[in-house]
Point group: C2
Chain length 376, copies 2
Amino acid sequence: MTFTISDKDKNSKARAGLMQTAHGAIRTPIFMPVGTAGSVKAVHQRELHDDIKAQIILGNTYHLYLRPGLEILEKVGGLHKFNGWDKPILTDSGGYQVYSLSGTRKIKEEGVTFKSHIDGSKHVFSPEYVMDIQRKIGADIMMAFDECTPYPCDYEYARKSMDMTHRWLDRCINRFDATEGNYGYDQTLFPIVQGSTYKDLRKQSAEVIASKEQQGNAIGGLSVGEPAEMMYEMTELVCDILPADKPRYLMGVGTPANILECIALGVDMFDCVMPTRNARNGMLFTTEGIINIRNKKWEDDFSSIDPGLTGYVDTFYSKAYLRHLMISKEILGAQIASIHNLAFYLWLVESARKEIISGTFYEWKEKMVGKLMQRI
Amino acid sequence: MTFTISDKDKNSKARAGLMQTAHGAIRTPIFMPVGTAGSVKAVHQRELHDDIKAQIILGNTYHLYLRPGLEILEKVGGLHKFNGWDKPILTDSGGYQVYSLSGTRKIKEEGVTFKSHIDGSKHVFSPEYVMDIQRKIGADIMMAFDECTPYPCDYEYARKSMDMTHRWLDRCINRFDATEGNYGYDQTLFPIVQGSTYKDLRKQSAEVIASKEQQGNAIGGLSVGEPAEMMYEMTELVCDILPADKPRYLMGVGTPANILECIALGVDMFDCVMPTRNARNGMLFTTEGIINIRNKKWEDDFSSIDPGLTGYVDTFYSKAYLRHLMISKEILGAQIASIHNLAFYLWLVESARKEIISGTFYEWKEKMVGKLMQRI
């Protein structure tokens, strides 16, 4: 994987770049739609490509490990072959999911023992095994196995957890370096900065992660309930330490405003379930602001869903029709809203990229943050 | 509306024809996907057009009357404008749905009083009002308001019900003739033959319906639980009486075998929820037979869903991936299966049409009926 930065914003730390992976290029800053079980919910792969213009999608190691399972994934030749998405894929390490199974998992130095949410069966994820799993999934970008601390988290726990994440990182890197891609193409491994909301821990973690000199780096443990200002503070602190010439991935973030603010802090990559999850509940992010499409006010609004977007769902369907589908619990409602929200997120990062290249990012960002977050 | 028959099968009563409506042509025999609330479940309008190659879809008067309601439909200029489907639409009369609300509806000569399944509100459908509603929906083909008797149904009830359906038909025709399309284009009205499974009643009803000389005629009250042989017997009896130069629509039918057998009896139009409803449960109709895609045997079958079809979902996705989506309860599974099953149904009727034109329909039908219904 290579990464080249083509443009930098003068008034912020935003940058525009280009990543090259075994499955093609990614223009940054980028948003990555989440495809938990190898499918971005309610969206066809063709729609991801043509309508949403996704350049890279996520898969979840925990979910894919349980279903369809490694045997199937190996047999078919990896996730790209399984779901037909031939552009880049990033897999998380399963850490976040496993820790979310509170009550059914045990964290030890060796690894994590957990019970499947599907059938209660017992499994163990160690840093080494998680590398092996991601080799079998075949993601272009693999993530280190970390512990994602909750918010709030007391200092001692955060420090101990961070230290273990760092020790686990060494084990991940050792296993990653000792193995090769299963399917004839290169994969890369991103370490993850932890440290909860403690500046000294974040600084320490960022320095450790930076010292590993991997091809890209991630910031984890944020967007877990802390105030946005705290997230920005931690992100800025960490971005300033992580290598400037490597892509920075802020995990699980966030709202359109969060994304623009963090681009301004030097983040290049984002993922979040918000656009798809909220879509299924009728919450739309648009170029004019946030819409609850279930509101009665839209029942006879036959205008396009978002006049600011030019894709299929935004020019073909009306707000009134989408509202009707949502109220009537028609699956098509979730489909339209999911495509719309993802297309909006991709439009957002592509617009940010253009503004960075034009040298107008900061002013544009300041204007957009307020506009995009207002409820209309 | 016009209907011209271009070809007739020598060895059966099958015929190939062309209907012309205000929203374009329909090649018969045809299958009409069901779009209950103005949406064919889990399918985009673009997919209906490009992938399924639907020529006409159904809307349900009862559902559309309750949601989005007539005010919205009138404001936008009818269902075509509301859902963006610019090809022909047929609406049922709501009779079947209203009668399905057993316990909450009362049938009288004047009309039917029923309670909404959504909010329990009370409504009255009379033959006249159902015509007015369908004028407002703007369907190219409107259906008469009838009583659909259950199976089994005692003779006396069936006779009385049929007589009332005939009286209601006169009221429908009177109202239809006294009104015009709301949106500047012509609509047509199909009467419905009833008579349960009694030959003399079916004969009598078909004669009454034929005497009304409408532009097309429908056969109702079948596919409600009676044995297939009984359905074929009634269909044949009725088809032989209904005008040969008008399209014949067999309501709510059926399996691929049912459709081929009834094409052979002279039916031109079909609708059924089976392809979409069964799709959502993982039952696929394919050119090789019936598949339960949830079966373990498909978990590592990476071949296309149906090698006999050439559309997007059948060439892009594999059986194993679709199985995984279904098992994982991913919405995309329902989407893929729905497109596949509908594409298969449209392929089936288009193939039947080609065979009729080629003069080989009967032999082909005999071969296909067994093949398509085997479980593989």
